[in-house]
Amino acid sequence: MTVAQPRKDKAHRLSSTRVGGKLVADYWENIFTAKERGKHVVWYNGAALNPLFHAAGLEWCHGEAFAARLAAQHLEGPAQAAGAEYGYINELCSYARTHLGCAVLTHQNSNRSETGVVGLTDQQELASKLPAPDFFVNGYAGCSTGQQWDAMTYRVFDRALPLFNVSIPMLWGNKPDAGYMRGEEWIEVGKYVEGQLRELVDFLEYQTGRPFDWDALSESMSYIKRASELRLEGMELCRQAPTPATYWDWVASIAPINFLPGNQDLVDYFAGVKAEIEQRIADGVSAVENERYRVYFDGIMNWNKLGFLTRKFAEYDVAVVAGRYTHESFWQEPQLIDVDNPLLGMAQHYLLCPLNHGLKNLQELLLRRLDEYAIDGIAFHSTRTCRAMTNPQSMLARAAEAERGVKSFFFEGDVADASFYNDELFDSRLEAMLEAIDVQRMRSAV
């Protein structure tokens, strides 16, 4: 199958996000030298536990983030080949098998053993650059595979390293009073996870042999809270039409908010993003030339196709203005963070992962975003190996149509495996949705 290239780039991406790209690149370059600098290294997955690692004086490697980075740079192949050779089947979460492939390569490098993994020596370099871990921490909300993943990384490293699990219950909505950030269930599980974070602090103290720096945690969280506020203010500015920035700009800003250290650089980055959006509004610059449709994106990001999809949607005069992945995660409720006593607010954010809700909460969140951003249609990225994100999509589509008359379309792809994307199907389905929106508009105009 050939993938047609969009003819003209009608997307005007924010230039300020390039600063974030540089911050992230510098972060990883620094991580790669962690062992040379005598640092303790933690590998972790799931929730943004990095402020705790930061305060404990650790270097932290987020597995999904590294897998996403490899995929976005089209360098995921060697890690996935190593994973496949080790035995991981390609229907397994492509984040997990990319990262586990990295684990296989890193472990082989650290043991300097003959691998048997074939070829691709040059490209392997980045995939195998992660410093070997001293221990693992897993804090995965919503996705059972995420919880099991580090139990496997632990085994790839010969069962020799400590593994700490933070168990984050689902916000399932058993109780009648349950809803988004409300009800008995919400109160109870926040305290439960907070208690585990205190246990994690004890674990970190034991592993590092140093007392935990609570002041450093408060300082880090104060920067993260401010960065989050600026990010949300920038997002709010995109409620106007035409939008000054798109979902893709917020995707480009995920890495900084998700795992960079909480410091002034982080605040400056989001202040810069917000300032550019404000300037665009002042100058009358829109993010998509001739914005005619406003679309919400539901699904985890297709990292292989980030730039491609940015151009593709814009080609159809579609501004993708918000999404579940960007807008319902990553410190998105900063008012919960008490910087003097941050653990409960952190625990609550870990619970608010967009994979961690039952259908009822997700419907509530979706309808709210449809209203806030005056959405015309929804793009559901049916993410082949991410069942956690795909779970409720069919029912969300029906709720959007029934409650708001909002049309939608589905396309198949994946987080880090380009082979699951089908461009012809994408075009025809997007076109069908846009035609349905046109018909809807004509009818309402009569």
Partner: protein, 390 residues
């Protein structure tokens, strides 16, 4: 050679093949409630103690129709079948539905039930899957307490310590009998095929436990324990296949190649019956103990632990059952199995145990292709064992 009574097996098979019909009949004849439960760690004793019939919801054999629009095609056959059954109203026989396992695909299917049947009580008692932590046991106990309250509310009854203790004893007795069948098969004193063993276990998941125990006792009564064992043939172990039963025709194809299946760790198999609930002390606490101990007895890749390993367990079990090879049955798209499979493969290679991986699907299992693969696999084992067999 000892064989099982065809008449009794027909009764059990009927319940195993159509649990919904069995539940409907049971409701009519007993005037009681039926609660549908999901695999793999829900304690049925709790429902039984409330005077209701616990039924472990099974994969339906029919092709998926309505469910296709509700869950994506890249979900396991079991969850897609559950979504389909919910959309078609086939789960309406259940007065409430309960789940205890956090599997992302399973919860997708359970959410379909909530969406398709909003009036149906649905409760998720999330039993913590990280097993090693100090806070796991109290958390699990709390969820069992919540579950008890929900079942009581749904049925309008109270579950007392005495009734729960009695239920635990009944289920333990049933599990012990099933394990006796496993021992008889392992020792060669009873010729019981893999699909027959599946009928015994699967029917225990869906039938009135007292009725099922009587049937097992009658089956055992018909066996002469002094009977001679089987001739020396290739002995296979079946591993994997969580949550739902592999199709019987697939199991039959394996044994039609002239081998015998001597043991398994399938969920609809030994995994389900591996562990009894403690009969002393507080019975509610005993259910927590059962949950934690069961994973030590038969480690499951859906649980996170550094205390035990499924691969090491499997190698030990191969020795215990004197098996010559392993067929790994993997339900397509089953993520915990896909995650753990490389460790299984490594361990079996290190142990020089021949192994064959077979992926199963809800529809379109290529039986004849599988036959060829199994025949080749068995031939490989035979050649390895040639001096011993000649």
């Amino acid at each position: 050679m000892n064989r099982l009574s065809p008449e009794l097996m027909a009764t059990l098979r009927a319940a195993a093949d159509d649990p919904v019909a069995y539940a409907q009949t049971w409701k009519t004849t007993h005037g009681g409630s039926v609660i549908g439960a999901f695999p793999m760690n829900f304690p049925p004793e709790l429902v039984h103690a409330a005077g209701a019939l616990p039924v472990l919801i099974q994969e339906n054999r029919t092709p998926i129709t309505e469910g296709r629009n509700l869950l994506a095609e890249f979900y396991c056959g079991y969850t897609r079948s559950v979504a389909d059954q919910a959309a078609l109203g086939q789960l309406d026989v259940f007065d409430a539905v309960v789940a205890a396992d956090h599997c992302v695909q399973l919860l997708g299917a359970v959410d379909v039930i909530r969406w398709a049947r909003p009036e149906k009580p649905v409760h998720f008692a999330q039993l913590t899957s990280a097993m090693d932590d100090a806070w796991t046991r109290p958390r699990v106990a709390g969820r069992i307490g919540e579950l008890t309250t929900e079942i009581e509310a749904a049925l309008g009854v109270s579950i007392t310590s005495d009734t729960l203790t009695a239920s635990i004893r009944m289920f333990n007795a049933n599990r012990r009998l099933l394990r006796e069948f496993y021992e008889l098969r392992r020792s060669g004193r009873l010729r019981i095929t893999a699909s027959e063993m599946q009928v015994l276990v699967k029917s225990s998941m869906v039938m009135d436990i007292a009725e099922h125990t009587v049937a097992l006792e009658r089956l055992l009564d018909g066996i002469d324990p002094a009977d001679e064992g089987q001739p020396d043939v290739v002995r296979l172990y079946l591993s994997g296949h969580f949550c739902h039963a592999p199709r019987p025709e697939l199991l039959d194809v394996i044994e039609e190649t002239g081998v015998i299946v001597v043991d398994d760790d399938l969920y609809t198999g030994y995994r389900y019956i591996s562990t009894d609930v403690p009969e002393t002390g507080d019975p509610f606490e005993a259910l927590s103990s059962w949950y934690l101990e069961r994973n030590l007895n038969a480690p499951c890749p859906t649980r996170v632990t550094t205390q035990v390993d499924w691969d090491r367990y499997l190698v030990d079990e191969l020795t215990r059952s004197n098996a010559n090879g392993v067929i790994v049955l993997m339900a397509k798209f089953c993520e915990p199995h896909m995650l753990y499979y490389p460790e299984i493969r490594k361990a079996l290679e290190k142990n020089r145990t021949p192994a064959l991986l077979i992926e199963t699907e809800h529809e379109g299992n290529p039986v004849e292709t599988l036959r060829t693969r199994v025949e080749t696999f068995v031939e490989r084992i035979r050649r390895q064992r040639m001096p011993a067999l000649s």
